[in-house]
């Protein structure tokens, strides 16, 4: 309860500052906050196999690759516990920085040009890849956060999730705008 209250207050505070600091940002602060919340929520509703962690108390690492405008909001969740695991948020600008391993990888909009080769460069598994561009989920990504007319939603590529050894909560799937499969990769 205490924790929830604190995060809530923090979120409000941050929303206010974000609006003040970046009035001409491509997405308003509220949306950025929602996106940060979404990313945090995915950590809650996705199950990683035990093999994905060194030990039961090992942290869940969120890697932000490229330019991520809601990163400040996301940092407010850093250190919170998901089950018994603390949440770690790391920012990376080079691909080498994320080779050490991430549980959630958010790919910023500026890195979309590298996408066709990107998936080959990161050859590890158990990664929930989240993007915010059209077709991210079709091109090897798992979750694509997007904005519809009135609200922020997400698409899920369940096949990619399964390939990565992840289990998505059925309730999470129920919220997804579209649940996709890799039709083209199908032999």
């Amino acid at each position: 309860m205490m924790f929830s209250l604190r995060t809530g207050l923090l979120a409000l505070l941050l929303t206010a500052t974000a609006i003040a600091q970046a009035p001409d940002a491509p997405r308003d602060a509220a949306e950025q906050q929602v996106r940060a919340q979404f990313v945090y929520n995915f950590a809650n509703f996705v199950e990683w196999p035990d093999d994905a962690f060194a030990n039961p108390e090992a942290p869940i690492k969120i890697c932000l690759f490229g330019a991520v405008d809601f990163a400040p909001y996301l940092y407010t969740f850093a250190g919170t516990l998901i089950g018994s695991r603390p949440l770690v948020v790391a920012k990376a600008n080079e691909i080498e920085e994320i080779k050490a391993g991430c549980h959630i990888l958010y790919v910023g909009w500026d890195e979309r040009v590298r996408l066709p080769t990107f998936w080959k460069e990161i050859q590890y598994i158990y990664v929930l890849s989240i993007g915010d561009r059209q077709g991210f989920a079709d091109k090897g990504g798992i979750v694509n956060i997007l904005r519809t007319r009135d609200r922020v939603q997400f698409d899920v590529n369940i096949e990619n999730a399964l390939i990565n050894g992840l289990f998505l909560d059925s309730d999470l799937l129920a919220l997804a705008r579209v649940i996709k499969r890799n039709t083209r990769s199908a032999p």
Binding site: M1, F3, S4, L5, G8, V34, Q37, F38, N41, N44, F45, L81, I82, G83, D169, D171, L172, A174, L175
Partner: protein
């Protein structure tokens, strides 16, 4: 029933037993059913409520789990969809989801256009269950990986409970009624085994009472208390019947015996009457010739000179005397039996009574050469004078009869509150083995002497009979060859009058030597030569015999057969008599006492008088005694006659 509980309770007592038992069963069962049903319903309500609460909790938890993602991602639509699934459960009236800050996030309510029922802010702590009376509200938190994301509230109405309760009540009423009906019908048959014997018993009792028929029996059906009651009743009836029968038999027997006894008594009475009549008439007829006979014999004794003839006359006199006393004894039995029945006791002076008797026996004793003495103070005893006199007379007569030498003593002495009248004699005594039989009729101490001494043994039997009837006591002591004493105990009235014996009857020196008395008596007779006696008797024989005797004693006698002749005689200047002797029955409407009165009136003098009668009729005898005159009974003994005349003239 509740309208008039008092009167119905009162009436309950008068109900038949069967109905009472039915009422008890029905009431008992109904109360048991009501308690059970109430208990069951209350238990069931609790159960249903708990089940309902649990169900709501489960639904709330499922909804909470399903809605975690929706709350996390802020997807209100998805949350609403989750909630609307609850609509399938008809009792759920509304459901709400609140976010982590307890703000309303999504809601569902059954009545869509009604006022919103979910408050904008949740004010209930999680896990709580709220029962507002109409609604049951359950709050469940939404958790995801240890983080609380929000709350789910599910509210259900309590209609299932009410519905269930209502159903149960209706069912219970029907079941109870059915159970009561079944119980009533079942126990009706079972009750019969309990109640029927009692009803039967009551009916039998009624019939026994109504018809008085004791042979009826109630039928036994079991060995329980009612059975033993019926058996006891039957046993009782049997005992009563048996007793009744015995009683009836006894009663019939008694009635028969009574009738028999009555008949016997009647015939006996008739016989008795006949005998009495016979005796009465015979006695009256016999007395006259007997009287005449004894007088003639006496006269004959004076006329005869030859010694051998004198001996015959003497024997003749003896025989006549025996005949007379035997006759007297036999007649006395019947006469005194009557006397006894009408007897009343009164104070009697023993001295006067014995004095009268003594005179008679003095002469008799003297004839046998015995000494007769009397020794007593003037005691007064409570007795029937005539009977006591008769007893003493008998005892004295016996004593003299059985004593040949020596004397006889009559003595009285006090024995506490009673007077012992003792008759001593120096006779031959009574053998010990005879002493008990001596009071029986026709028993004599010495059989061989009957002829010689006269008497037929009736004397002591009569004495015994009188003594027993009067409640006296007669004892006997005797030594053979030495003598006998009879002791008669009679109740005393008071202290003896302390007067010297000599002064009581100075003219009757009975205590003196009897020889001298005799002498004096004879002297007197000589002196009274000129004395005149008026004799009235309608029987010529008796009259002439008496006149002859009186003449011989030296009296002048004027004798008359009837009163008018007598009166005529005196009216024409006949010499006045010094003494009047009158027969009692002097023909029609004339009696001795009236004759005496008329003579006295005519003579204008209270001439001494006495009555002689031969009557055997107890009624007449009583009347004669009631006249107040001294009465002698025919046949009159010369000695007694002489003594009485002496007494009256002195």
């Amino acid at each position: 029933m509740s309208r008039a509980p008092l009167s119905s309770r009162w009436r309950y007592r008068d109900l038949p037993i069967q109905r009472k038992i039915s009422i008890i069963i029905v009431i008992g069962m109904a109360s048991a059913m009501i308690v059970t049903v109430a208990n069951f319903i209350s238990f069931d309500r609790e159960n249903v409520k708990r089940d309902l609460g649990e169900e709501m909790r489960v639904l709330a938890r499922i909804t909470a789990v399903r809605s975690a993602a929706a709350v996390a991602f802020g997807d209100r639509q998805n949350a609403r969809e989750n909630l609307s699934a609850l609509a399938l459960r008809s009792t759920i009236q509304h459901a709400c989801i609140y976010d982590e800050q307890q703000r309303l996030f999504a809601f569902f309510q059954r009545l869509e256009n009604a006022q919103p029922v979910c408050p904008p802010l949740l004010d209930v702590a999680d896990g709580q269950q709220k029962d507002s009376g109409q609604l049951l509200e359950v709050v469940e938190p939404i958790f995801r990986k240890g983080l609380r994301l929000g709350y789910v509230v599910v509210a259900s109405d309590l209609s299932p409970i009410a519905e269930r309760t209502r159903k149960w009540i209706v069912t219970s009423v029907f079941v109870t009624m059915a159970a009561l009906l079944v119980a009533f019908l079942m126990t009706r048959r079972l009750q019969r085994s309990v109640v029927q014997p009692i009803i039967d018993l009551a009916q039998i009792m009624d019939r026994v009472r109504g018809s008085n028929n004791l042979s009826l029996r109630a039928s036994t059906q079991g060995q329980d208390e009612v059975g033993s009651l019926v058996e006891s009743f039957n046993d009782m009836l049997q005992i009563i019947e048996k007793n009744n029968r015995d009683l009836e038999l006894l009663y019939r027997e008694l009635v028969g015996k009574s009738a028999e006894a009555e008949a016997t008594a009647a015939s006996m009475e008739l016989r008795n009457q006949q005998i009495r009549d016979l005796f009465g008439s015979a006695a009256h007829d016999l007395r006259q010739p007997l009287q005449a006979m004894s007088i003639f014999i006496q006269t004959l004794g004076k006329k005869v000179q030859a010694p051998d003839q004198l001996q015959i006359v003497d024997k003749l006199r003896q025989a006549t005397q025996n005949l007379s006393s035997l006759f007297k004894e036999i007649l006395d039995v019947s006469r005194y039996e009557f006397d006894l029945s009408v007897a009343g006791t009164q104070p009697v002076s023993i001295k006067q009574l014995v004095g009268k008797v003594f005179l008679e026996f003095e002469a008799l004793a003297q004839e046998k050469g015995l000494e007769l003495r009397f020794h007593s103070r003037d005691y007064r005893v409570l007795a029937h004078g005539a009977l006591l006199e008769r007893i003493i007379r008998n005892l004295l007569s016996n004593a003299i009869r059985y004593t040949d030498s020596g004397g006889v003593l009559l003595g009285c002495r006090r024995r506490g509150k009673r007077l012992a009248i003792e008759v001593w004699d120096t006779g031959r005594g009574i053998p010990a083995q005879k002493q008990q039989q001596i009071f029986n009729r026709y028993v004599q101490a010495h059989d061989e002497e009957r002829e010689q001494r006269g008497g037929f043994g009736l004397g002591l039997a009569i004495v015994k009979q009188f003594v027993d009837s009067l409640g006296y006591k007669l004892t006997l002591a005797s030594k053979e060859g030495q003598g006998t004493v009879f002791r008669l105990l009679v109740p005393l009235v008071d202290e003896p009058v302390r007067v010297r014996q000599e002064s009581v009857q100075p003219t009757m020196p009975i205590h003196q030597d009897t020889a001298r008395v005799m002498d004096i008596t004879l002297e007197r007779l000589q002196d009274q030569e000129a004395t005149r006696i008026l004799l009235v008797d309608d029987n010529a024989d008796v009259r002439s015999a008496l006149k002859l005797t009186l003449n011989e004693w030296g009296f002048e006698v004027d004798d008359f057969a009837d009163v008018p002749t007598m009166l005529e005689f005196y009216r024409s200047g006949g010499r006045a008599p010094d003494l009047i002797i009158s027969d009692y029955e002097l023909g029609q409407d004339m009696t001795g006492d009236r004759a005496i009165h008329q003579a006295r009136t005519s003579l204008r003098r209270e001439v001494p008088a006495f009555i002689v009668t031969g009557t055997e009729d107890p009624g007449v005898w009583q009347t004669v005694q009631a006249t107040g005159f001294t009465v002698l009974r025919k046949p009159v003994r010369p000695a007694r006659l002489r003594a009485l005349i002496n007494h009256l003239l002195s």
